[in-house]
């Protein structure tokens, strides 16, 4: 566990594309009845969207809330496993699009679904060491799922962005503490030339997701002496609806502390943006003085846990950009044919 006192969230933004496909519609094509699926529908990037465009949209919302000169942002880290270029940073595209160019540091991070939270940890370190004034951490993905695979019902698209800086009286929230837990656990992977990831089915549960999330969370709570009743919201990585519910049950966390940060049932698993979008949804409704525990998870495997305390600045900033609920509700349903076109599965040659 690392005390991160002095580092604050100054702006945040969540982006979800407008298109949705229902699990039932995917199941219709593959002969599976998904009418009772907990993930009712998932967000699908439009034909002209990718991880870079969604990162820009989330970053623009974060910038509107931060109310700072974008030129003060000196580091941009984008976590993604669907970056549009194998070689060329997404961060420099984001920098130019939000008016932060030239920036000092920009790199793409990969750690499956936790690369975005890893970006937060790196930016926080740069701020604490005094090397930068503000930094931008982003998680963005147009998640891949092989047609017909179980992942296809949940792999979704979205982005979340956070502008971090030193703690001051205008800040939205303080990042009080951080803990991480990582081991070599091959539960989900994608080789360089492959389009779709592979996964080890049920092995992704006990030795992977649960072990690492609980490792990071318990370290955060036990090492720092926080009690569960001091925490008002819990946000866990949500590759499905069941896994975060099981973690909450194990920790004896009340459902009402979990529900505001659990949106996978409506948008699916947005990979690097997944737990961060849950955090965005909580920031949209939390009150000053309340605490949030965020725990990401990335296959391979690792988890970052953060303890975040809401500050008075939330009142002034929250409504400077659309709340996530507005993007979740603003949707256009597509059928499986359009889904294939948007995912560029139709060969045009």
């Amino acid at each position: 566990m690392v005390k991160l006192g002095g580092v604050a969230v100054h702006g945040y933004g969540g982006y979800i594309p407008r298109y949705r496909i229902k699990a039932e519609e995917i199941g219709r094509v593959w002969g599976q009845d998904k009418s009772g699926s907990p993930v009712v529908e998932k967000a699908v990037a439009g034909i002209d969207e990718d991880a870079a465009t969604m990162a820009v949209e989330a970053a623009r919302m974060a910038l509107r809330r931060a109310m700072i000169d974008p030129k003060k942002i000196s580091a941009i880290y984008v976590g993604s496993e669907s970056k549009p270029y194998a070689v060329k940073p997404t961060g420099t595209i984001v920098a130019e699009a939000i008016g932060a160019s030239p920036t000092k540091l920009a790199a793409d991070l990969e750690f499956a679904c936790k690369a975005g939270s890893e970006a937060i940890a790196i930016i926080a370190g740069l701020i604490r060491s005094g090397q930068i004034e503000y930094g931008l951490a982003i998680g963005a993905d147009t998640a891949q799922g092989r047609p017909g695979d179980a992942l296809e019902y949940t792999a979704a698209s979205g982005a979340a962005a956070f502008i971090l800086g030193r703690l001051d009286d205008r800040a939205i929230a303080e990042i009080e503490a951080w803990s991480a837990y990582a081991t070599d656990t091959p539960d989900f992977w994608r080789r360089p030339s492959d389009k779709y990831p592979m996964h080890a089915a049920r092995f992704t549960g006990e030795p992977a997701y649960f072990r690492h999330i609980l490792g990071a969370v318990q370290s955060l709570l036990e090492d720092d002496g926080y009690a569960l009743n001091e925490i008002d919201y819990f946000v866990f990585h949500q590759p499905n609806v069941k896994f975060p519910l099981v973690v909450a049950k194990y920790l004896k966390v009340d459902q009402e502390k979990l529900s505001p940060g659990l949106i996978a049932n409506l948008v699916g698993n947005t990979y690097s943006a997944c737990s961060l979008l849950g955090l965005v949804n909580v920031l949209d409704q939390a009150q000053p003085g309340q605490r949030i525990l965020l725990a990401s998870y990335g296959s391979g495997a690792g988890s970052d846990a953060f303890l975040i305390r809401i500050l008075d600045g939330i009142f002034e900033r929250r409504d400077l950009a659309p709340r996530l609920a507005e993007l979740i509700e603003d949707k256009i349903y597509i059928d499986y044919s359009m889904y294939l076109k948007f995912r560029e599965e139709i060969i045009m040659r």
């Binding site: 594309p17 407008r18 034909i47 002209d48 969207e49 465009t53 130019e96 699009a97 603003d330 045009m348």
Partner: protein, 133 residues
């Protein structure tokens, strides 16, 4: 588009940033030698508003090379909040939403993909505003 030409215009393509004549206010998406309207040689950096209203549009069903993936797509004439009129691709719309004077806002999108090995050209498009009232 050749890479230098795209790169020189990214500030305009990405965030509608360009140069405004300090004498007559005419907007140029590049830094000109003289103002196209009044002949002045003095300019200041400026960004166009990112929202406005849709004046009219057409649907392109037979796209030029490089845009096949996006067809059918819409091109709209948009009047920005400062009165500037701009042509832009429209995106993320249901066709019945494209009514006269609907509020639209700029978004950042892929505009052209140069095959499997070339660069991805990004830029602005407009979509029906999330908050339309």
């Amino acid at each position: 588009m050749r890479i230098p030409g795209y790169w020189r215009n990214t500030q305009f393509f990405y965030r509608l940033a360009g140069w405004k004549c300090v004498h007559c206010g005419a907007f140029h998406h590049y830094k000109p030698v003289v103002c196209k309207r009044c002949g002045s040689r003095e300019f200041a950096q400026a960004e166009l508003p990112s929202s406005g209203k849709l004046i009219t549009y057409t649907i392109v069903r037979s796209p030029p090379r490089g845009f096949e993936l996006f067809a059918p797509y819409a091109i709209g004439l948009i009047e920005l909040e400062d009165g500037t009129r701009i042509l832009s691709q429209l995106t993320d719309f249901k066709e019945n939403e494209l009514k006269d004077e609907i509020k639209v806002e700029a978004v950042f999108r892929r505009v052209r993909i140069n095959g499997d090995q070339g660069i991805i050209e990004y830029g602005y498009k407009f979509r029906p505003a999330l908050r339309r009232s």
